[in-house]
Subunit: 338 residues, 3 copies
């Protein structure tokens, strides 16, 4: 994991000692150790700092040796002894403080700072319509149309033959070729992460990206949030209708179809070729296999294996759901002639 500096201005590495002083966390480790990036626990490497909010039982799952971890008191004894830790009451909040001290989204920085980025690289065959804003560091490929009053944030890379609808906004994102965003689509906003801070609810800062692969279409006024640390990914030829919500760190496979009002919560996986009817909702961290069909209005709270068709709220296999609907109708209306 490394934060993409096309989207996030690096404010400089920090030592563990500096972090301890900034946050008030209790350091167990070398004051001079240098941290140069932030990451989620599972992707944390020697240069990164991550956080671990523990219930005091499960050990942290570490795929690499982390540079340091912010942990709560309950979790401290679960961290391997050789890993530097910063002990804090609100590890996620403290980690956000550290991240903000190390990176800031370019699009929130003043024009004088954004001026340090190279001017946008716009292909001569691209069409930039009236009132559209293309920020420094961005690139627009051949034959792409950026509609009126659309906003392309700093560092955003857009491929060839894309259409960015009027009034759409794109931040912290990489778009392939032949991508279409309809008017008012919102790509790369910070996701919805409410965390506890010392004064109450706080927004979790986001340092990830959105990846829209070739031939992806995103409907009018739909929202694809960027990842907290990693990426939100929409696979090749996946088609998303109007007024859909794709949350942070979701991965949609190829040729997935999401009808209007689809709501995909954080970190959900949807396999290639799955079809989501109108107003389908999927709870966070659920995994949906390839070629799954979810009936309109389904509310899914469990994993679904490849090839299955589910419906209802809470969703279940479609035949079971239809049997329940029919049985209830029959039982509750015993005298109904027709």
């Amino acid at each position: 994991m490394s934060t993409d500096t096309r989207f996030y201005a690096p404010l400089g590495s920090v030592t563990l000692g500096q972090i301890a002083r900034l946050t008030g966390a209790e350091l167990h480790g070398d004051e001079q150790s240098l941290i140069s990036d932030v990451a989620a626990l599972s992707n944390c490497t020697a240069r990164d700092i991550a956080f671990f909010e523990s219930d005091g039982r499960a050990k942290p799952i570490l795929n690499h040796e982390p540079g340091a971890l912010v942990v709560n008191e309950d979790g401290r004894h679960l961290v391997p002894d050789d890993v530097p830790v910063l002990v804090a009451k609100l590890p996620r909040y403290v980690h956000g403080q550290i991240a903000r001290a190390m990176f800031q989204p370019w699009h929130l920085m003043p024009a004088s700072e954004q001026a340090r980025l190279p001017p946008p690289a716009i292909h001569e065959s691209a069409i930039i319509q009236s009132g559209a804003v293309v920020s420094n560091g961005a690139a627009i490929g051949a034959g792409t149309v950026v509609g009126s009053n659309a906003v392309i944030g700093p560092g955003v890379q857009i491929g060839r033959h894309c259409v960015i609808g009027a009034g759409a906004t794109v931040f912290c994102a990489l778009l392939g070729d032949h991508v279409s965003l309809l008017s008012g689509a919102r790509i790369g906003e910070a996701g919805f992460g409410v965390m506890s801070g010392p004064s109450g609810a706080e927004d979790a800062p986001h340092f990830g990206r959105v990846i829209l692969q070739d031939h992806v279409t995103i409907g009018a006024n739909s929202c694809i949030d960027r990842g907290v640390f990693g990426d939100t990914i929409v696979g090749e030829r996946t088609k998303v209708d109007n007024l859909c919500q794709i949350a942070h760190n979701v991965v949609l496979g190829r040729s997935v179809v999401v009808a209007a009002f689809g709501g995909i919560s954080g970190s959900v996986r949807v396999g290639d070729g799955s079809l989501l009817g109108g107003r389908v909702g999927i709870a966070d961290h659920v995994s949906v296999g390839e070629g799954v069909s979810l009936a309109a209005s389904a509310g899914l709270f469990r994993d679904v294996a490849a090839g299955e068709t589910w419906g209802g709220t809470p969703a279940k296999p479609i035949r079971q759901w239809m049997r329940e609907v029919a049985w209830l109708q029959k039982q509750a209306n015993p005298k109904k002639p027709g």
Copy 2:
């Protein structure tokens, strides 16, 4: 109740006689009496005119002596004798006519009129990005970022260290400090009020405001409508996800969490610290206590007491709902082995 002239240009006081001539209503009162403002029935004072659409039975609930009331024939005898009345077939429509004769939203007036307002007061440390429009009479506090192509309407007051996302629009609103609006958020539009006019359905005009207290976050493409006469209020540190709808005159308490596709109908109250899962809907005038949890997809049509957890559509206490779901599944699938 007094209409906020930062948002609504006062077109001048009117006499009851002028009102009668404008609307064709039948006046019972002093032709020379001067009316200087409009209000809802419960907030109507001696300077205001309100309306009372009566079924002929319940008396109007008046907290003050009103300047005048527009009433239908059925309601006339229920109004105290000393209150001037204008009798009309469509009191709400007639009241809207009067209101429009007395006030007009500044943001719908020509530039030559808006030029009468003072230029916007923008703190020197605020960042106004490319294409953003900040109207006359508005104020932008220290350290606030107004994103590209955002629109800040006349008279809007925005505090310190706020972020207004790209393409967001804000009208008739007061924002505290550290408020974040994500891209495409719509703050202060007129709410959805369909009333009967002489030629069919008419939009009820809106003369209220939106108040977003400190540390409020409103997600991308979410909508917070302004009050009809009073305010729509979102309490401190309340966090609203993308694609939510908060209707006119809603009051959300502090640290309320509203997940994506949340829909809060007119005049609903939600207590501090309540949690609304994804796609929760609440019918108008419902009151939700403090610390309530509503499960994802719940459709709530009744009041809920503090601390309870409800789910389902129509929503009921969560255990009851889960019992029904489980019972139905068991009964309808008697031979299911697993």
Copy 3:
């Protein structure tokens, strides 16, 4: 059916021989026959080409003699002998290729091409606010307000005394008088039509329009998609709340009320005076009669006769639905005292 050249630039007529060479389809007809427009099967006339994806059984329903049809192998023998046909594996995709060769939306063409259209005709009493874009070929009537940063596409016709909200976008549309679009409304985007192409999912191109009749109101961030070939129509005084989705080729009657999160799928018909509660969804091609009420959260998959009230998902007559809800509650909670 003829494509409206105010919205779609005609690229020229083509011969059947040219079409065969462009698409690789197998021509059975006169190479020199000239095709000058595209249409849906039911509206196809002698100057048009349509497509017919057949299951090999049902005959195409032709209301006129078509200029030519693109058919699959299974459907070829069902087409009358005197109709020229182009045989292809993917008729809908091939028809889209032909359509794109004959027409292109003006709003996706470079400024140098749009310059061929006449400058916009803006009435002297209209108000065009800061940052709004009004394209060539468009017309704005007397007393109409176009809000800040709104975008009015090429050829769009807007009547008198309309209000176009800030940041709203309007393409391929005709608006009557007294039409209101709230901020962020998206009028005339291409609808959601996923079709099979040789490399996978493709977006069906759209060549139709949106018609908003007098006194229509469309809420903030709501979307009204344009027709595939014909029109999406919203009847006089119909009122649509925020965050609604009206798909391609829908026809809403007069004085229909659609509350927030209403989702109307493709080609649905809704009769005059019908009321749709919050979060109502209607499946494609469903027909709803006049004066129908659909309860909040209803998911409708079947036609409903005039005057009925339905609720639930799948929706059914409201009494039946309420009986089922009550019966289930009673049966599943037998010992519940209250």
